[in-house]
């Protein structure tokens, strides 16, 4: 992971809100996710590829720079598996992803409000990691190859949610996001003659707690 996330990236994204010296927030959340699939096309046949539904945990450091505007640096870890299916054949291969992104938050109520809906949007990077056991024969390998390797992709984050103030320092958050990346075509690699492209959507629903200070 450290090979793909330069330290400077963290520094730049975190430093901007910090400089405003406003209300800070740290939090953790967990939930589930599901991916859209993409089709490989090949003269030998087509196959749908995606990452399987899995679980996600995340943590963030946020700053509310104004009464309604904020931002947060977020880390997400998803445990999943690569999946390939064609006809009645399904192939699975262990995988996980890690993402770091900065999202701007627009709250619809002030910091002191008990319930505060918000929308979020931002960008970052996501690392796809194939972790399964490589074998000399993998079904559907004539169409696509589920691969034990890592691949870094830019990521766009869109989402929204609701903050519930439990006490003066603790908030409960429920939120949904769509993390969009270009298709990770090294981890799910096209075989000779196959084509794949487009963006992969990762819909995430999470709930968590944040501490403000």
């Amino acid at each position: 992971m450290k090979h793909f996330l330069p330290v400077t990236f963290f520094v730049v994204l975190a430093a901007a809100p910090a400089a405003l010296a406003q209300k800070w927030e740290v939090g953790v959340a967990g939930g589930g996710n599901f991916y859209t699939s993409k089709s490989f096309t090949n003269p030998l046949g087509n196959a749908d590829a995606k990452l399987a539904n899995g679980f996600i945990v995340s943590g963030w450091l946020g700053n509310n720079s104004g009464r309604l505007l904020g931002g947060e640096l977020r880390y997400d870890y998803e445990q999943s598996s690569l999946q390939l299916s064609s006809g009645g054949t399904n192939v699975s291969f262990g995988a996980h992803t890690q993402a770091v992104h900065y999202d701007f938050l627009l709250n619809f109520a002030g910091r002191e409000a008990r319930i505060s809906p918000f929308v979020a949007g931002g960008a970052g990077v996501k690392v796809y990691s194939g972790t399964g056991r490589e074998q000399a024969f993998q079904p559907l390998s004539n169409i696509a190859l589920l691969t034990k390797t890592n691949q870094l992709k830019p990521m766009i984050s869109l989402g929204g949610g609701v903050k519930f103030r439990i006490s003066s320092a603790i908030q409960f958050r429920a939120e949904v996001h769509d993390y969009l990346t270009p298709f990770p075509n090294s981890v799910i690699a096209p075989a000779q003659g196959s084509k794949v492209g487009g963006w992969l959507s990762d819909f995430v629903a999470q709930a968590g707690l944040a501490w403000t200070f």
């Binding site: 056991r133 490589e134 074998q135 000399a136 024969f137 993998q138 079904p139 390998s141 190859l145 589920l146 691969t147 034990k148 390797t149 890592n150 090294s186 690699a189 075989a191 000779q192």
Partner: protein
């Protein structure tokens, strides 16, 4: 059953045992005759009943010395230790003849307080054993008693009538096993107690308190007088028998004297092993030898020399490491768990095969490795019994490699196969080394067939009527060997009872039946799964000699277990039972012992042929025997039944009433095999060679049944002789045409010989179209590399060999390069694989010789190095994958198992040329030292060079090289990158996928 080379081997081994060798085990003399023993491991002692000195000797397990003795009442005959270790019960056999008064008694020794109590018994006790409930079963000549050792009370379980106990005094040189005449023992878990005497046998179910007594007769006597019971009581040994809880013999030892006072047996359930001494018949006892056999069917594993004879019961320590047995001097202690550390000697192979051929008359040499299985250094001698066969050195210390040399010129006139013997002896070893059989074949181009070496005594052959398989019955190891009819390789081994005699396949083609001369069961195997199914229990415990299946009956010729006449049983496969037929139609159910059965393949009839010249016919339509004749004084050799109401026994062709129609010629030798195929037949004969198998080739004849008088002119000489019968095994079934009519299998001197169906057709000369390397089938060929010859009429059959060194003639084909014989791995009509000799380089000429003639000369160029990667890998449905292996997971490199940075790859290839040290052509590469290629290769992926770790011959392989490389961390990734191997100006490439 057949004249036996193996009998000679056994005899040789026995004589060797008498003349040579150290012994295994320690004798502890007790100054009297031991009658029983009991092991007390918590106290570290063995209790030994000294029958004649009226003592219980207490032997230390640590020192194997008698440390104390407990004086007890007269004639302690049996001992038992309670499972809780509290009580030792001693039975006293004091059955004095009047007017003296008897002193039959039981002594209970409290081992915690050293207290002793003796209780008088009305009848002489025959044995005692404890169950898990800490109560002792006492067997007397009149009843079964249950003794509570704590209270000293007894309860009668049952009475015994009609048993006569011996009285004292007895004549000199009588032993406790003869006098007391019984032995009793409990299972390891204490749940069952079994025992037997001269006529009595019983089982006692301890937990259910159920006693099952019975009576038996036995010829010879059921010695040695020793019982050993498995851990769970599911099987046990009585004397020379291995029984199940219903007292049927799962198997029994063969060739035994039945002496009551010599020998022993002990079951080690955890290791599926029985240790036994079973003296052979005869008035003079040979040097004592212990057999180690499989516990399920008594198949022999090894023989160990003993310092003296066992003489009754044996027990094993709980961890199976030490065997304690009653012996002539008292007790013998054998550390069987450390047997591997004792000096032993063995050859690593059973057979060595020398295939002479018309291309190569040079002296042939092969290596034989003599080892001590325990890894020790043991001195040995090895000698040949045959002129023209020599060994060097003739003595040495293990591990040692002995050079076995054959001068083909000595055997040139033989034309068949000589089965010679290398005898191994050692004054240090405790085992009886098995001799090595050396098969020396000399053949001429006109001789047909390819023989396959199968060690052991082969006694029957069947072709599967439905599957492309055939079954060979190996009697010496109790096995059915299942061979694939397509490539003649063994695909399965089925375990039978002891001494299998004959096979049959049921009419529905689902089951294989095997009868055994030393088992009360007929083995049944499912031919779809090749797994054993529930066997058939033979009525009266009779022993199956031969079996055959018609459409409505399965019949078996049996040897009577009760001493009656041999007779015929009907088998009910549904009930897994047999019944002795009350009669054979209008005839008595009585046949000669040496009788065989054979069924027509349409299931209409079964013929029985007896060595005394009798013939019987079972008619399936009638459901009974319809013919019985005795037109001959003796019969033997081939036997068969056709679907067209014709039968063969010996040299006689018989009609539907078994009346002789005509005789086949006998000029080519004795009849060995006969097989009807539609309205013609195959027949084999071999010249008789006295007591052994023929060293002449023997012939096969294709018989026109409408004109059988002129078969001599149709005779074709075989590569080696078919097997002939012998004393006690007059009949032979040695010929089996495969159902798909691709080949004819013959049991022959070395194992079996495969003949193509059209063996007698005129054969066209071979034609070579192309010669390439065997790895990627490209044109680069180097010395020592494997090559593939493509062409036509290269061989009449498909055959691969696993013989080492590789033969220079295989399946009638021999290949030469510039006149030098080329070792061959595989032959087929259109392809031949071989190893280019290391001596060959430059422009060369190759010629292939077959019985059809010689090919035209094929010219090619052999270059010093031509590395070419094999494309023989298989992954799932994908084939022809280059043999590049990732060391990380041991799998082939493919797109789904791509190369990663820092991977170590192992590349298998051929054509890397000469090595240091040099390896002889046809021989496998050594492991130490490794044979490194003289010319160093380079390996690249794209433009990145990989780090070389090893480049040379793959150890243990012939003509196969390997390169080990490490992928650097700066390797570039890609889906289709060239992996290139360059050596001495020659390069070959293949495509690989690399990922980060």
């Amino acid at each position: 059953m057949l004249k036996s080379y193996w009998c000679k081997i056994a005899l040789t081994a026995s004589l060797a045992a008498a003349a040579w060798g150290a012994t295994f085990g320690k004798v502890v003399s007790i100054g009297g005759h031991a009658s029983d023993l009991a092991l007390d491991e918590p106290r570290g002692v063995l209790y030994i009943a000294n029958f004649t000195a009226n003592r219980v000797e207490v032997m230390s397990l640590a020192t194997n010395a008698v440390q104390t003795s407990i004086n007890v009442a007269a004639q302690p005959s049996s001992l038992a230790l309670s499972p809780d270790g509290h009580f030792l019960v001693v039975a006293h056999y004091g059955n004095a003849a009047p007017p003296a008064s008897s002193s039959n008694a039981i002594t209970v020794i409290d081992l915690t307080s050293n207290g002793k109590q003796t209780f008088a018994l009305a009848s002489p006790p025959l044995g005692v054993a404890f169950g898990i409930n800490n109560q002792a079963l006492v067997v007397t000549s009149t009843d079964f008693l249950l003794l509570n050792p704590a209270s000293g009370t007894t309860k009668e379980l049952d009475t015994i009538a009609g048993l006569v106990a011996k009285t004292l005094p007895q004549p000199p040189a009588s032993f406790p096993t003869n006098i007391v005449a019984a032995s009793v023992a409990a299972s390891g878990d204490g749940m069952f107690i079994y025992g037997f005497g001269d006529t009595l046998l019983f089982k006692y179910d301890v937990s259910n308190n159920i006693l099952t007594p019975g009576f038996y007769t036995s010829t010879p006597t059921l010695g040695p007088r020793a019982v050993s019971v498995s851990q769970d009581g599911s099987y046990f040994t009585f004397g020379w028998t291995l029984k199940d809880p219903s007292f049927f013999n799962i198997s029994q030892f063969a060739n035994i004297s039945g002496a009551l006072n010599v020998g022993t047996s002990a079951i080690d359930s955890a290791r599926n092993t029985i240790y036994a001494q079973m003296p052979p018949p005869g008035t003079t006892l040979p040097a004592p030898v212990m057999q180690i056999v499989d516990a399920d069917n008594l198949a022999p594993r090894s023989q160990i020399r003993l310092p003296e004879n066992f003489a009754g019961k044996s027990v094993l320590s709980s961890d199976g490491s030490t065997l304690y047995g009653v012996s002539d001097s008292g007790v013998m202690v054998l550390g069987v768990g450390s047997l591997s550390r004792a000096h032993q000697v063995a050859a690593t192979v059973q057979d060595i095969v020398f295939r002479g051929n018309f291309c190569d008359r040079r002296i042939a040499t092969q290596s034989l490795t003599i080892t001590d299985p325990g890894g020790g250094n043991t001195a040995f001698n090895i000698s040949s019994n045959t002129s023209g066969l020599s060994v060097s050195p003739s003595s040495g210390v293990t591990p040692a490699t002995v050079s076995v040399r054959v001068d083909p010129n000595v055997f040139a006139n033989q034309k068949g196969t000589v089965a010679a013997t290398l005898t191994i002896t050692s004054s240090q070893s405790v085992n009886v080394p098995t001799p090595v059989r050396v098969l020396i074949n000399s053949r001429q181009p006109e001789q047909r067939g390819v023989f396959v070496d199968v060690p052991g005594k082969l006694v029957d052959l069947l072709a599967d009527p439905f599957r492309n398989r055939f079954y060979v019955l190996r009697q010496d190891t109790n096995q059915v060997l299942v061979f694939d009819g397509g490539n003649n390789t063994q695909i399965a081994t089925l375990r039978t009872g002891n001494t299998p005699m004959g096979m049959a396949i049921t009419f529905d083609q689902r089951y294989l039946l095997v009868g055994c001369d030393n088992s009360h069961y007929l083995n049944v195997y499912d031919l779809e799964t090749l797994q054993p199914t529930q066997p058939v229990r033979m009525f009266g415990g009779d022993y199956v000699q031969s079996v055959a299946a018609s459409s409505n009956a399965i019949l078996a010729v049996t040897r009577s277990a009760s001493g009656g006449d041999p007779n015929i049983h009907s088998i009910d496969l549904g009930l897994r039972m047999s019944t002795r037929l009350p009669n054979l139609g209008v005839y008595q159910n009585k046949v000669a012992l040496n009788t065989v059965l054979t069924a027509s393949t349409n299931g209409a009839s079964i013929m029985a042929a007896s060595a005394d010249g009798s013939l019987l016919l079972y008619d399936a339509n009638v459901g009974s025997f319809t013919v019985s004749r005795k037109d001959f004084t003796a019969l033997g050799g081939a036997y068969a039944a056709s679907n067209f109401n014709l039968y063969v026994a010996g040299t006689n062709l018989l009609d539907s009433s078994l009346v002789p129609i005509t005789q086949f010629e006998a000029g080519t030798g004795s009849a060995s095999g006969f097989a009807f195929v539609d309205q013609f037949a195959f027949r084999t004969t071999a010249p008789s060679a006295g007591t052994g198998q023929s060293t002449a080739p023997g012939v096969i004849q294709r018989v026109d049944l409408s004109n059988v008088t002129n078969t001599v002119s149709l005779a074709t000489q075989m590569t080696e002789a078919p097997l002939l019968g012998g004393t006690g095994s007059a009949f032979t079934r040695t010929l089996a045409p495969l159902y798909n009519r691709n080949a004819i299998i013959n049991l022959t001197v070395s194992g079996f010989t495969v003949l193509p169906w059209t063996y007698d057709a005129s054969v066209a000369a071979p034609r070579i179209n192309k010669i390439v390397n065997a790895a990627d089938l490209s044109g680069g060929i180097a010395p020592g590399g494997l090559i593939t010859v493509f062409g036509a009429q290269l061989s009449p059959v498909n055959l691969a060999t696993s013989e080492i060194p590789l033969p220079t003639a295989l399946a009638d084909s021999c290949l030469t390069v510039n006149g030098l014989p080329v070792p061959i791995l595989f032959v087929s009509p259109n392809q031949l694989n071989a190893q280019m000799p290391f001596e060959t380089v430059g422009n060369v000429s190759m010629i292939l010789r077959t019985p059809g003639g010689s090919s035209d000369t094929f010219n090619l160029q052999v270059i010093p190095t031509a590395p070419s990667v094999f494309h023989s890998g298989v992954a799932g449905p994908n084939t022809d994958i280059p043999t590049v292996i990732r060391n990380t997971n041991g799998e082939l490199v493919t797109d789904s198992d791509p190369i990663h940075k820092d991977d170590i790859l192992v590349i298998f290839l051929t054509g890397m040329g000469a090595t240091a040290p040099a390896v002889p052509t046809g021989m496998p590469a050594p492991l130490n030292p490794l044979a490194v290629a003289l010319t160093k290769p380079t390996v690249t992926i794209g433009d990145t060079q990989l780090g070389l770790l090893y480049w040379g011959l793959a150890p243990g392989e012939v003509g196969v090289y390997q390169i080990n490389v490490q992928v650097p961390s700066n390797i570039k990734s890609g889906l289709d990158l060239p992996l290139t191997i360059s050596q001495g100006g020659f390069s070959s490439s293949l495509s690989v996928r690399v990922v980060e």
